[in-house]
Symmetry: C2
Subunit: 215 residues, 2 copies
């Protein structure tokens, strides 16, 4: 009996989430805003990616929604740089969902053409399960975390529209098997472009920004 | 109405989990097995920590339960090294729970005194919420992922009995502010020992193993 209730509730939550995500998706498109769901593990470089992309935008106004369980360290940093940023705290929840983003958007004034970067909670598992109304799912992984990630966390790689391999400045000091990584990735996702970047040196973000602006 | 059902089910699941975890905790203690819940983000070095600790055990037989969403890469590696390892796959679920570990233990023959290392799913959020019957919660973070993790993922730090700061061989090449990290950590957890380790060089695991054996 427990199991039946559990499944019903989970399906209801997911269906309600997808309905709201679909509305958000359409609304943003109408306003000429491209929304990017920025996903990756804790410390993988989501905020440095947001900064890196924004510094190379040519035709789109930058907007950011910063998702965190608690705190607003990165939002303060982005606001100080003059970037229109809104903090969303989940207070324990392990991913952003579509209702959270809908509420956040009610508090933002967006003017198109714009690129809205939504930094999800640091988590390689749960965010991949919930659409938040994005047009592009951007996944970040790093050379410091081993080349076996596609084999262990397949859903995130399968769903990604664009993949960033971060911290490439540390390649000389780690054992990262690029062939093994790409083999695992391509078995799950044959299309997403893969960009090599470094949050530390700023390398690679120009190409990512150009690709996003072309979508 | 939805919310009410949601909360009831979540509380029921948590209560049932805690009841089973409590049974497992007692059963393992009775058999003279110390169970360690090894937690940390994807690629943080959970498996290298398991290997590093086992190589320095003096008075305890080593046992491993490998938690993964999919696949058994690390279990194959550990079995090849002659370590008694059982694979647990969650097929999508973002953390191990007490029923999974109870089932796994039914398939293992444990002889005390033993140290059972349970490698949780790579996730800095959800595993911290679920007890699996462990005696010690061991949290791993890394110098490559920034010094702000205690501020962003407080629950994992708050609950940890022992914290490993991994990848210290890369300290010269990254910007890691140890004072800021320790300040955030100690605000949440005044007691847990912090060990500096490197999965790459093997540094530090002797001290971790000695501490675990002394518990």
């Amino acid at each position: 009996m427990h199991d039946v209730i559990k499944i019903d509730v989970k399906e209801e939550i997911q269906a309600e989430n997808d309905r709201i995500a679909s509305d958000t998706h359409a609304l943003l498109k109408e306003r000429n805003i491209v929304a990017v769901n920025v996903m990756g593990a804790p410390g993988i470089g989501k905020t440095s990616t947001v900064k890196g992309i924004i510094s190379h935008l040519k035709a789109h106004r930058p907007y950011v929604i910063e998702g965190d369980i608690e705190g607003d360290i990165d939002t303060q940093d982005l606001l100080e740089r003059g970037i229109a940023t809104l903090q969303v705290n989940t207070f324990g929840a392990c991913h952003l969902d579509a209702p959270m983003i809908r509420s956040a958007l009610e508090r933002m004034e967006l003017e198109g053409p714009g690129l809205l970067l939504i930094e999800n909670i640091g988590n390689l598992v749960c965010p991949a399960e919930f659409s938040i109304g994005e047009h592009i799912k951007l996944l970040i992984v790093a050379v410091t975390d081993g080349s076996d990630k596609p084999y262990k966390y397949p859903l995130a790689f399968e769903k990604a529209d664009c993949i960033l391999l971060n911290k490439v400045d540390l390649l000389p000091y780690v054992d990262f098997d690029q062939d093994y990584f790409m083999k695992g990735l391509r078995a799950l996702n044959s299309e997403a472009p893969v960009f090599q970047v470094s949050g530390r040196t700023g390398e690679g973000y120009q190409e990512v920004a150009a690709w996003l602006e072309s979508q």
